[in-house]
Symmetry: C2
């Protein structure tokens, strides 16, 4: 025992497990293999398998119990899951699925090629097939897509004694046992009961009298991000998913919610910079290029728009070439100030605290901040230019251009993601590229435009 | 019942609750007030209280039970917690604390001014005080800082029957009951038991025989981010915090982990753009300026470095003014490509998948991507310049400069956050400002430097 030092230990751990497994495969020792797997976590074993050749995986399967394979399969990433299923006998796959919870099976089936999926469907039991097909009907980013159907539901008129008997029976197959779902005889969800309350209540108390009726629930179509917000805001252990007629369709547990939060945060950070989801830092070069180049092309267009803006003032720059050196200061500061507001806005949207109608007061606030920042930063930058080039007008033009551009930066950093959101586009999606484009174009235009107007003072 | 539409309903809901509470305060109706509070979630009530005047909060307190106040206090944000405690009688505060879990009390006490905290300490019971003071000893970003001491610990030689009796007794005061902690008679943690297994086991089975002994634990000093990574990677419901001698100090539950993940992600997104943590989009203007201006000043320095680079080539620009229009294309694309790599790197670091020693293969990969992107984007940009200005050499220079700058972008986007991390600085901290500075300076230098070298072909 002792603390697991994740980062440092992981690489070594993987190496150790790899060596042990390969040894056992060679010796063809079924008993040793299952003993070994019992002493490591399935997620670590999955990382090992990921590096195996197809033939090694097949040899590995031959020595491992269905239950162990199902544990590893649950923890494997999508690509590995598809590969693992592909290498397994179809009949055995069905047995392995029977050890997994329905939502996991659905996730795996959803990623398989359609023909493989149909083949497996044909081998499944009628009753399982119905649940799985109904779960497959929901979009994977919704409550229906991430919910599980392994929960304990009890009728409201059950006594505590009956309830405890049921819990002992169903408990082992259920994802959550601390929270029990109370139904009326029409099978509508009317409350939830805490196992603690059941444990301390007298044997003949009815469940209806100890359950909590003030519930937070979601519909199967609810976006997974909203589900995560509710669970995290109200510190829920589990949230029920119900139909329009109040029947209980499934539950979303807090560990599913953690996965959602991590996934959505990754999306936000990558999308802001124009990286498509699904790219990993150690994936293939071709894959990375395919995912990044579209946004670089968008950026190329905005960069040319900025260049065209500058080229409109070529004659002005020809007369006062110091402008060429000074102009990136205006646009650089605008880009950074815009990113500051942008990152705050995107974060508040992700936490469910902002929408477009929310508050024009914030726009006003960003204008004030841009004004004050612009005057301060503009004064410093203008003074330095004055000292360097000995021309007070160049300094004043810098100060005005900086102020106006930082105001524009504040407004766009706030509005761009909100407009994207209102248009039902991910607010983080390349918003940084758009904000920078706006501050670049306006920055050049204002600074060089003012210089052109007052060119006689600058020469 | 029915789905709670968070975003849209929240503002209206807050208004409704505010009105109802104010009405009841006016009527001075204690019964109605507690009835009302029972039908809303404490976190929503906390949002209402946040908008109250001090005098209104005092009137509110007079009508509300200690338990209700403790629920609201737990859900309030830090500022409101301090304000609420400040407005409450010290003796009553102790009673209110007795309804809260120790880790919550510690969080609140940690935020109070030192004098207020000491006054409250004097009123506390000796035994409580000891736990709380030992918890206060841990840094709030560590496992010790976020752990709770409300768990169920049972001795290994207990029978299932004894265990169930204990669980019924302690369960209601415990944060988690699905997982029970098994100690030996030296009070060292030797395993955890799942309540499911206890429920289905025979009465006389000993706990030692049904508990899981292969444990993942953390030390109290473990960084909260590492704790969150472990819980999310291994899908744990709870993780034990143990001392060097293996005694159980506390537990971190999955809902604490969600808060950590949300907090750390917010930090990452804001830090990348140079926004200090703790700033909110609707905070005061003065507060925002104080938090953002330091990074704008850092950015001003890097912007001047870029400007100085350009100014070194003023005579070159004077001869071919088209260079001034074309040069932002090189730096703009470099900045964007750098941000793409940067955001991927930061995300992988946050997920615990990267460290500096990790892989020079990735640097090589980023160089290849930069090379290919640079050639493609450079060819497009160069061709457009050639068409516009009719000079093939200008196009070739653009292509070379773009290629070199995108390679630099890839390398810095990968290395800057890893170097910050190795230096024990948050890898997201203003990394975007540094990467942009490097791509700006090198972009200008390479493009204008090449132009200067081949100036005779450009005129």
């Amino acid at each position: 025992m002792g603390e697991l030092k994740i980062q440092v230990m992981n690489d070594e751990l993987i190496e150790i497990i790899t060596k042990k497994i390969k040894d056992i495969i060679e010796k063809n020792d079924k008993f040793k293999m299952n003993e070994l797997l019992n002493s490591y976590y399935p997620i670590d074993v999955a990382e090992v398998i990921d590096e195996f050749e197809d033939s090694e995986i097949i040899n590995f399967y031959a020595l491992v119990d269905d239950k162990e394979i199902s544990d590893i399969l649950e923890q494997a990433d999508e690509d590995l899951q598809v590969r693992m299923i592909d290498l397994i006998d179809n009949y055995r796959a069905i047995f392995i699925f029977s050890h997994m919870s329905n939502d996991e099976v659905v996730d795996i089936l959803g990623n398989l090629p359609i023909n493989k999926r149909k083949t497996l469907f044909k081998l499944m039991k009628e009753s399982e097939l119905r649940t799985i097909q109904s779960l497959l009907g929901y979009d994977e980013d919704t409550a229906g897509g991430i919910m599980s159907t392994e929960y304990i539901a009890l009728y409201e008129d059950f006594s505590v004694e009956e309830a405890l008997r049921k819990i002992k029976k169903i408990g082992p197959r259920s994802e959550v046992i601390e929270v029990l779902f109370i139904l009326n005889r029409k099978r509508q969800l009317i409350g939830i009961a805490d196992l603690r309350d059941i444990l301390i209540a007298d044997d003949d108390v009815k469940l209806i009298d100890i359950c909590e009726k003030n519930l937070i629930t979601v519909a199967p179509e609810t976006d997974q991000e909203s589900v995560a917000l509710l669970v995290s805001k109200y510190d829920l252990k589990v949230i029920p998913v119900i139909s329009k007629k109040n029947s209980l369709l499934g539950i979303v547990t807090v560990d599913d919610v953690i996965d959602v939060i991590v996934e959505e945060n990754t999306e936000d950070i990558l999308h802001m910079a124009g990286v498509s989801e699904g790219e990993t830092i150690n994936g293939s070069i071709g894959g990375s290029i395919k995912k990044r180049i579209p946004w670089l092309c968008v950026n190329l267009i905005t960069a040319f728009l900025a260049a065209i803006t500058v080229s409109m003032f070529e004659s002005t720059i020809e007369q006062v070439v110091a402008l060429a050196a000074a102009m990136p200061i205006v646009t650089g500061m605008g880009g950074n100030a815009g990113s500051q507001t942008l990152s705050l806005t995107i974060r508040h949207i992700a936490l469910g605290e902002l929408s477009l109608k929310n508050d024009w007061k914030i726009v006003f606030k960003e204008i004030c901040i841009g004004l004050i920042h612009g005057l301060v930063i503009g004064l410093i930058a203008g003074s330095i230019l004055y000292i360097k080039y000995g021309n007070i007008y160049l300094g004043i033009i810098m100060m005005i251009a900086m102020t106006v551009n930082l105001i524009i930066a504040g407004i766009t950093g706030y509005l761009v993601p909100l407009i994207l959101k209102a248009a039902k586009v991910d607010p983080a999606l390349a918003s940084s590229i758009f904000v920078t484009a706006i501050t670049d174009i306006f920055g050049f235009m204002i600074f060089l435009g003012l210089a052109k107007m007052f060119i006689s003072y600058l020469i």
